[in-house]
């Protein structure tokens, strides 16, 4: 190939990468790991990367719910995810009481509770036409209030051994002479990602969701009960954050009641990093996966640099602004 041909091919590849939001997001993650390695040598070694990915799972699960809600359209957003996460933590702990035998019941209870709480959001947004921002924010506050009242700040119960193993244990095997440890939640996450990808791209459920998000009026006229679809989307979000909370129970020794709040903003940011359009009807969960990993890695780097909570807020806010500017610039050119 001639020089110019090589040049234009290169430019083509760069353009393809830049236009593919998911690829771009993963590129950012890699850049971040590179920066991490520079700042803190050893940061990007395999076992530490696994640790960071493990920590990203919980945000990743919540971001999945957020992704579904955003895809469902009409400026969809779920700001109650922190509160439903806490529900998952508390309910899980209270039912498990440290016993594995209670695990199936706990999972069932957490999934149902999260789903039902999400349905309330869905009802308010879909049937009452309330803005998702306001509805989910307000409902989250109500849930927080109830939890505070019930638990009075502390809670009985604790995680069971299996849950703990899943939460912070790893799958170990040998490759040659190397001992490889892959945290169970990462395995779980991969399964979930593949499953979601299948549902969204190869089933009618996925197509209906994307359609409702892209143009709910057209979907309605084509026979879909769009209101119900959106209600279920919010239900799913509640369910997924509650589930994430339950898994977190196995990951963290003493989850406290304010834990959920820290995940709300990042779950929205993860979706944005993933290039998912808030207008609805498009976007890939893989983008949010990259976004979740990005944010968790960023927080990890900041912690290593001994930056406090305030500093983390500032950095996250600025990162969000920069990304926003980049993505909006791109969008404007379209």
């Amino acid at each position: 190939m001639t020089d110019t041909a090589v040049q234009s091919k290169f430019r083509d590849i760069v353009r393809r990468v830049f236009y593919d939001k998911v690829l771009l997001a993963f590129l950012l993650v890699i850049l971040l790991f590179v920066a991490g390695e520079i700042i803190v040598p050893g940061f990007s070694h395999f076992s530490h990367v696994m640790t960071v990915l493990q920590a990203s799972f919980f945000l990743g699960l919540i971001s999945l719910g957020q992704t579904i809600v955003v895809i469902s359209g009409k400026e969809g957003l779920d700001l109650s995810v922190g509160s439903t996460l806490t529900v998952g933590v508390l309910l899980g702990a209270v039912i498990l009481l440290g016993k594995d035998s209670n695990l199936p019941l706990a999972i069932l209870a957490v999934i149902s509770a999260g789903f039902i709480l999400g349905l309330v959001n869905g009802f308010g947004v879909s049937y009452l036409g309330l803005s998702p921002l306001i509805m989910t924010l307000a409902w989250g506050i109500v849930i927080d209030g109830v939890l505070l009242f019930i638990s009075k700040g502390s809670y009985p119960g604790k995680a069971s051994p299996i849950l703990e193993m899943i939460g912070h244990g790893s799958m170990t095997f040998m490759i040659g002479t190397y001992l490889v440890k892959i945290p169970w939640v990462i395995v779980l996450w991969v399964v979930i990602i593949l499953g979601i990808r299948f549902v969204l791209r190869r089933t009618s459920i996925g197509y209906v969701l994307y359609g409702v998000g892209a143009n709910s009026r057209a979907a309605e006229l084509l026979g879909i009960k769009t209101k119900n679809v959106r209600v279920i989307a919010y239900g799913m979000s509640g369910m997924l954050s509650a589930l994430s909370g339950m898994f977190m129970l196995g990951f963290v020794a003493n989850p406290n009641i304010a834990l959920g709040e820290r995940y709300v903003l990042p779950s929205v940011v993860a979706v944005i990093i993933g290039g998912i359009d808030f207008g609805g009807g498009s976007g890939s969960y893989l983008g949010a996966v990259a976004g979740s990993i990005f944010l968790t890695t960023l927080a990890s780097i900041l912690t290593t640099l001994n930056i406090g909570e305030g500093g983390k807020q500032v950095v996250t806010g600025m990162v969000l602004m920069i990304l926003l500017i980049i993505y909006t610039r791109k969008k404007k050119r379209e």
Binding site: L130, Q313, V314
Partner: protein, 329 residues
């Protein structure tokens, strides 16, 4: 067909029709209802002392709702309102001493206008970034700075601040009423300008506004800047109320201002409603707090109750929309 309205009863009918159809009318009614309830629970509700005391807590609410209302009518949103207030509170308390009060206050006001007004306004107006996410980002930045400067409540606020806020001017006008009047005067002035109409225009149909020759990005920037003046006033009130620098102090104002605006009949999509609704909405929230307080429910219930009430008021505000024609063309 054009009919000459000479009949005076027709004119009255027309006026009453206009009032009833106004988007802020339902909130007006709710407010009156709550005044009645409040007056029942608190016997000297209409006394000078109680009114003055209520004004002290209502004033920042009202001002923040006017700010948010203006922004929302322009089609934007400000989720950083509360954290701007916190930032003001922390930075002014941090640097204040007995001698530099006026200077620090002035710098603080300028900073709020620069950050909340110009930063948000520029990003949303000139860079066309999404208001929701932008102000979410700036709120994180403001909060982060405030938390870093004063992780624990502290700083210094001269004692007379506390007294002035609860005091009077000319012997009988409460200081807080004075601040409110400033707010109303600003409102009165801007509502007579073309800018005010343009703010509605860009909120209602941004493309059409641009095609009509309106400089959309500048109008949007100015909406945020004008609102930031009100936010600065809120900051002053909060500083005087708490008499300390505390990053938590402003946080509630974000959700409350948005709720007040929505309850007051201003549409979140922009272009519809009027600032009276924001005022009524703020008063509704303030009166509700009073009522909850006076009915002596336990503090755990209070948070729950407040959240529920916001949800319920929003649902009520949404009801007229349910009766709208499903198919509009």
């Amino acid at each position: 067909m054009k009919v000459q309205k000479n009949n005076s009863t027709d004119i009255y009918k027309k006026i009453i029709n206009r009032i009833v159809k106004d988007p802020s009318f339902p909130s007006f009614l709710i407010m009156v209802l709550l005044i009645v309830i409040n007056a029942v629970l608190q016997p000297n509700f209409f006394s000078y002392r109680i009114i003055k005391s209520n004004l002290q807590s209502f004033t920042p609410l009202i001002l923040s709702s006017i700010a948010q209302g203006l922004i929302i009518i322009s089609g934007s949103l400000d989720l950083s309102l509360g954290t701007s207030v916190s930032l003001f509170s922390v930075l002014t308390a941090y640097y204040m001493t007995d001698t530099n009060v006026a200077l620090i206050l002035l710098i603080g006001i300028v900073m709020v206008i620069a950050a909340s007004g110009f930063l948000n306004g520029f990003a949303i107006g000139k860079l066309s970034l999404s208001p929701l996410i932008t102000t979410y980002a700036t709120s994180a930045i403001f909060l982060g700075v405030a938390m870093t400067v004063l992780p624990v409540a502290g700083g210094y606020v001269p004692k007379f601040f506390y007294k002035i806020y609860r005091g009077t001017i000319f012997g009988f006008i409460p200081f807080t009423a004075f601040i409110l009047i400033i707010g109303f005067i600003i409102w009165g002035i801007i509502s007579r300008t073309a800018l005010f109409r343009y703010i509605y225009a860009i909120g209602s149909n941004e493309e059409g506004a641009y095609a009509s020759g309106i400089n959309v990005s500048t109008v949007r920037l100015l909406a945020h800047v004008i609102a930031s003046v009100y936010i600065a006033l809120v900051g002053i009130c909060v500083l005087m109320i708490t008499a300390t620098g505390e990053w938590r102090s402003g946080l509630g104002y974000t959700l409350n201002s948005v709720a007040a605006v929505v309850i007051g009949g201003i549409s979140l999509t922009g272009g519809k409603g009027n600032l009276w609704g924001a005022v009524f909405g703020a008063l509704i929230l303030g009166l509700l707090s009073n009522i909850i307080f006076f009915s002596q429910i336990s503090s755990y219930y209070q948070i729950f109750a407040k959240g529920m009430i916001i949800v319920l008021s929003l649902s009520l505000a949404a009801i007229p929309r349910l009766f709208e024609e499903k198919y509009k063309f």
